[in-house]
């Protein structure tokens, strides 16, 4: 498949005197039709990377091409759909007016009626932008990103402020565009969303890529298990057991994160033979992410 984004040894600092590099010798290529989710803690370099890809920031070194062309030129922008984190539309314009205007910017816009029905905008199409709820505003901004029929979509935190209904529409639309063979770059704080949608998860830390894999692989790669049970043993004692990474209260239960579930359970049962309601489960993407980036796992603060 053809490459849509190609980044070679990209480095970026905000001021030349600074030793600290926001992006450090980063290389990444994204193929057509891939849905890549960029993850990283605040300050990891996600926004900087996106702004460079969009042509808003110029890197000090490295090569970037989008569709084999230079980022930021008109030909590239014509094939790009963008949803930015801090961008909204003017208050006193109706949804239809915004869509008609934005569609007119692109060479080959999508049929407006199609877009309206895909995103369930019929009810709000004649309303002023300012009167919409947070989730509806996000849907309209998504519609603006889609109206040029883009080949590459940048969605920066699209589900912020969305309720269950609007988020379901967002997910459906993303799935549909993926099935059309469009390339999508997504950032999100909901790891559940990354897990559900992404083909690839790219984790940034200190301006470098520390993991790049499918959500499934990432979860098994960091194959800690979660053990949950009712027990009489207190937290301090449990945290001293073999292979235990973290211990926390979970309602009436105790939850133990372990690198070796069978070893931990063997010792736990020896201490508390009356152990009740025992369940073992895999880590979710969030725990994998926390381990990859070596952030303090929240459980440890409790334990």
């Amino acid at each position: 498949m053809t490459q849509v984004i190609d980044i070679q040894s990209l480095s970026f600092t905000y001021s030349k005197s600074q030793q600290h590099k926001v992006l450090n010798n980063l290389s990444l290529s994204i193929k057509q039709g891939e849905l890549v989710c960029l993850l990283g803690a605040n300050g990891a370099g996600k926004s900087t990377l996106i702004n460079i890809l969009l042509g808003r920031l110029t890197p000090q070194s490295g090569n970037i091409s989008i569709f084999g062309q230079q980022q930021g030129i008109r030909e590239v922008r014509n094939r790009l759909g963008v949803m930015l984190q801090n961008s909204t539309a003017p208050d006193k314009a109706t949804v239809r007016e915004l869509l008609v205007l934005f569609s007119s910017y692109f060479d080959h816009p999508i049929e407006l009626s199609q877009l309206i029905s895909q995103l369930n905008l019929e009810q709000i199409i004649e309303q002023y932008f300012v009167t919409l709820s947070g989730g509806q505003k996000q849907l309209v901004l998504l519609a603006l990103a889609l109206c040029g029929d883009p080949d590459l979509l940048f969605l920066d935190e699209p589900s912020v402020g969305m309720d269950v209904t609007t988020r379901r529409i967002l997910w459906q639309v993303i799935e549909r565009y993926k099935s059309y063979g469009k390339t999508i770059v997504l950032t999100t704080h909901y790891l559940e969303e990354a897990d559900a949608l992404a083909d690839r998860v790219v984790v940034l830390k200190d301006g470098a890529i520390v993991a790049d894999n499918t959500p499934q692989q990432l979860k098994t790669q960091f194959s800690h298990k979660l053990i949950k049970a009712k027990t009489t043993i207190d937290i301090d004692e449990l945290s001293k057991l073999d292979s235990v990474v973290a211990v926390t209260h979970y309602g009436r239960y105790i939850e133990v994160t372990s690198q070796d579930a069978s070893a931990t359970i063997k010792h736990w049962l020896a201490l508390d033979p009356a152990l009740e309601d025992l369940t073992i489960s895999n880590c979710d993407l969030e725990q994998a992410f926390l381990q990859i980036t070596n952030l303090p796992v929240p459980q440890e603060q409790v334990a």
């Binding site: 008109r74 961008s87 006193k92 314009a93 910017y105």
Partner: protein, 253 residues
């Protein structure tokens, strides 16, 4: 016309119409912008006019004409750019294939349109109720002067709009608008100023535009036309450069 040009024209039409509609949906913008110059003119130019024979009403027609076109140029143009930049709407446009000239030029035309409405309103009041008698040539050159004279204020508004945040842009523009209008002799005629204050007036752009207008109706202080025009062009140039730098900065922020 080929299809691409037709498409561009169409896009520009949408841009301009939406700008006009949005301005008309903000009564807090268009009511003071249009009503204040007309209201001031009715009070000071028509009701309190005691010089007779249309002297005061003619003089103040020029003053409030300048006052009138300043407000849409500064606020309709500059402050609205600042607010769209704050909302990130400008960023979305910058990332789309549209040329920045399209939305800047649409906003410029929008400001000029409001300017024309104010000028026509003032001219009608002056001619019908104020005994203002001018030749067709004088009416037309005064109107044209006020339109071209909007441009330096548009540039100033745009410069502030690109550099200041939305709410503070309005505050800064107000700080520029009223004092420079008063000190330029738009409220109290400049010939009534003490000598030193007349010299102060000469550093403000509205003073030079109003002197050019007064020249058309033979009421100026008699300073050189060239110096007034030069001053307006310098203002236009300086603030256009500042606005352009601000635009480049807004690409990143």
């Amino acid at each position: 016309m080929n299809t691409l040009t037709l498409k561009n024209v169409n896009s520009f039409k949408h841009e301009l119409l939406l700008d006009i509609k949005m301005a008309c949906r903000e009564p807090s913008f268009f009511i003071p912008t249009i009503a204040f110059p007309l209201m001031f003119y009715i009070f000071f130019g028509l009701l309190f006019s005691d010089m007779g024979k249309g002297q005061t009403s003619t003089y103040l027609l020029v003053s409030y004409g300048v006052f009138g076109i300043m407000s849409p140029a500064l606020f309709g143009f500059g402050a609205s750019v600042a607010s769209e930049r704050d909302k990130g709407w400008l960023a979305l446009k910058q990332l789309s294939p549209v040329s920045p000239w399209q939305y800047i030029f649409a906003k410029l035309l929008n400001a000029l349109l409001f300017g024309i409405i104010i000028v026509i309103g003032l001219f009608t009041l002056g001619a019908v109720f104020g005994d203002v008698v001018l030749t067709i040539g004088q009416w037309l050159s005064l109107a044209a002067l006020l339109m071209f004279g909007s441009l330096p204020f548009c540039a100033l508004g745009l410069a502030v709009g690109f550099w200041a945040k939305g709410k503070s842009a309005v505050a800064i523009l107000n700080l520029i608008f009223l004092p420079s209008a008063f000190l330029s002799g738009l409220a109290i005629p400049v010939f009534m100023f003490p000598q030193w204050l007349q010299q102060v007036a000469a550093i403000f752009t509205p003073f030079h535009l109003s002197q050019l207008g007064l020249k058309i109706v033979d009421m100026s202080l008699g300073q050189s036309v060239l110096s007034h025009i030069t001053f307006l062009f310098i203002t236009l140039f300086i603030f256009s450069v500042i606005a352009m730098k601000g635009y480049k900065r807004s690409l990143v922020n």
